[in-house]
């Protein structure tokens, strides 16, 4: 399917029907989607639609992304989307257009220094939740001063890593949303002390290890949180006290509430953490 999407510029938009600033293309799709069908019951619909626009921004084709008739069958959405794309391709004349195989380009900050978090939730029941999440967070001057080269072992509060570790929450956290605003509860605090220790250096670069157990706490009213192990290798150039790069991981368990079985499922939640640019 990636090949079929190569000619397109991809964009996403989210909002509600009562929003005041709905783009024209979205309005056109929703007018059709939510129009009451004459003389019959409305069919099942998902909350995701696809709009194909031509280069002038005019709506050429649209469809419900989840294909409710085939919903739940593995591979059905891919084949359904491919079929819909084929229809649009003939209208747009894309079959004759040569395509090139695009390179993988992960989210970055256009050369600015930052941290990239690549998150994975191992949910054996919900295959869709296993899709990786990739977030980037800028690093400002002075942000890493608290990670200055350690002459010996010392303690560092994990709270100094809040801007990065706050990205470590699973996708689809429907059970952790504010009932009034429908917004997801963000991670408001990181708890736990870390040890920062120097290790042997090589090739003009010194390394230190930052490690410990951390607890991530969200904004909800019930002190909801989850724990994991954090281990990060920090690299320091000779003569510099603050690190210039880091790589590491978070390895924890997320307690997802299962309303159907009135149970808590402990799901492995892992994140690779890396500085950018590489």
């Amino acid at each position: 399917m990636v090949r079929k999407l190569e000619p397109y510029i991809i964009a996403s938009w989210h909002g509600h029907r009562n929003d005041t600033d709905i783009p024209a293309a979205v309005k056109a799709v929703w007018d059709q989607k939510f129009k009451a069908p004459r003389g019959r019951t409305p069919g099942r619909q998902s909350n995701v639609d696809i709009a194909i626009l031509d280069s002038r921004g005019s709506l050429v084709h649209s469809f419900d992304a989840a294909n409710h008739q085939q919903y739940g069958r593995r591979g059905r959405i891919e084949s359904y989307t491919a079929d819909e794309l084929s229809r649009a391709a003939s209208t747009l004349g894309l079959e004759k257009r040569p395509t090139k195989s695009p390179a993988l380009k992960l989210p970055d900050l256009q050369g600015k220094q930052g941290i990239r978090v690549l998150l994975s939730l191992d949910d054996e029941r919900m295959h869709a939740y296993r899709a990786p999440v990739v977030e980037v967070v800028p690093v400002e001057d002075g942000d890493w001063n608290h990670l200055a080269w350690p002459e010996g072992e010392r303690r560092v509060s994990s709270s100094v890593l809040l801007p990065y570790l706050s990205q470590i929450y699973p996708p689809g956290v429907m059970d952790r949303t504010n009932p009034a605003t429908k917004e997801v509860y963000g991670i408001k605090a990181v708890e736990g002390d870390l040890e920062l220790s120097p290790v042997a250096s090589k090739k003009g670069t010194r390394h230190a290890i930052l490690r410990g157990e951390v607890r991530l706490v969200d904004e909800g009213p019930d002190d909801f949180g989850y724990k994991g192990t954090l281990e990060i290798v920090l690299a320091y150039r000779d003569g510099e006290s603050t690190p210039h790069a880091l790589r590491g991981y978070f390895d924890g368990l997320y307690p997802r509430s299962d309303r159907m079985h009135r149970d808590i499922r402990w799901l492995p939640l892992q994140a690779a953490i890396e500085s950018i640019p590489e």
């Binding site: 399917m1 990636v2 190569e6 397109y8 510029i9 991809i10 964009a11 996403s12 938009w13 989210h14 909002g15 509600h16 979205v26 929703w30 909350n47 995701v48 639609d49 696809i50 709009a51 194909i52 626009l53 031509d54 280069s55 921004g57 050429v60 649009a88 195989s101 695009p102 993988l104 380009k105 989210p107 690549l118 919900m126 295959h127 869709a128 939740y129 296993r130 899709a131 990786p132 999440v133 990205q167 929450y169 996708p171 689809g172 429907m174 429908k182 290790v199 042997a200 250096s201 670069t205 390394h207 290890i209 990060i232 290798v233 790589r247 390895d251 994140a271 690779a272 890396e274 590489e278």
Partner: protein, 87 residues
Amino acid sequence: MKRTLLYLFSLSATVLVAGTGWSDGTGTRGILERYRSIRPEAKDLAMYRLDWAASLDDALKRAAKESRPVYLIIIHAKYGDIRSGHC
């Protein structure tokens, strides 16, 4: 939400080798190996081979300039960033 994610998951499939260049020195090897094993493989990051625009406005400007069509994903929800996967 479940369907948003299912759709996102269906976009995935690819190749990338995590750039290394980090020496696996004393004490750091285990951590760097664990980092590599946890980092999603390229085949799972295929959606990042697509040509994403930062916004619909940006996509429409580029579409006019580059004479290309736009594939717009519309999510009926208060929050959600399908590009990052946090939705």
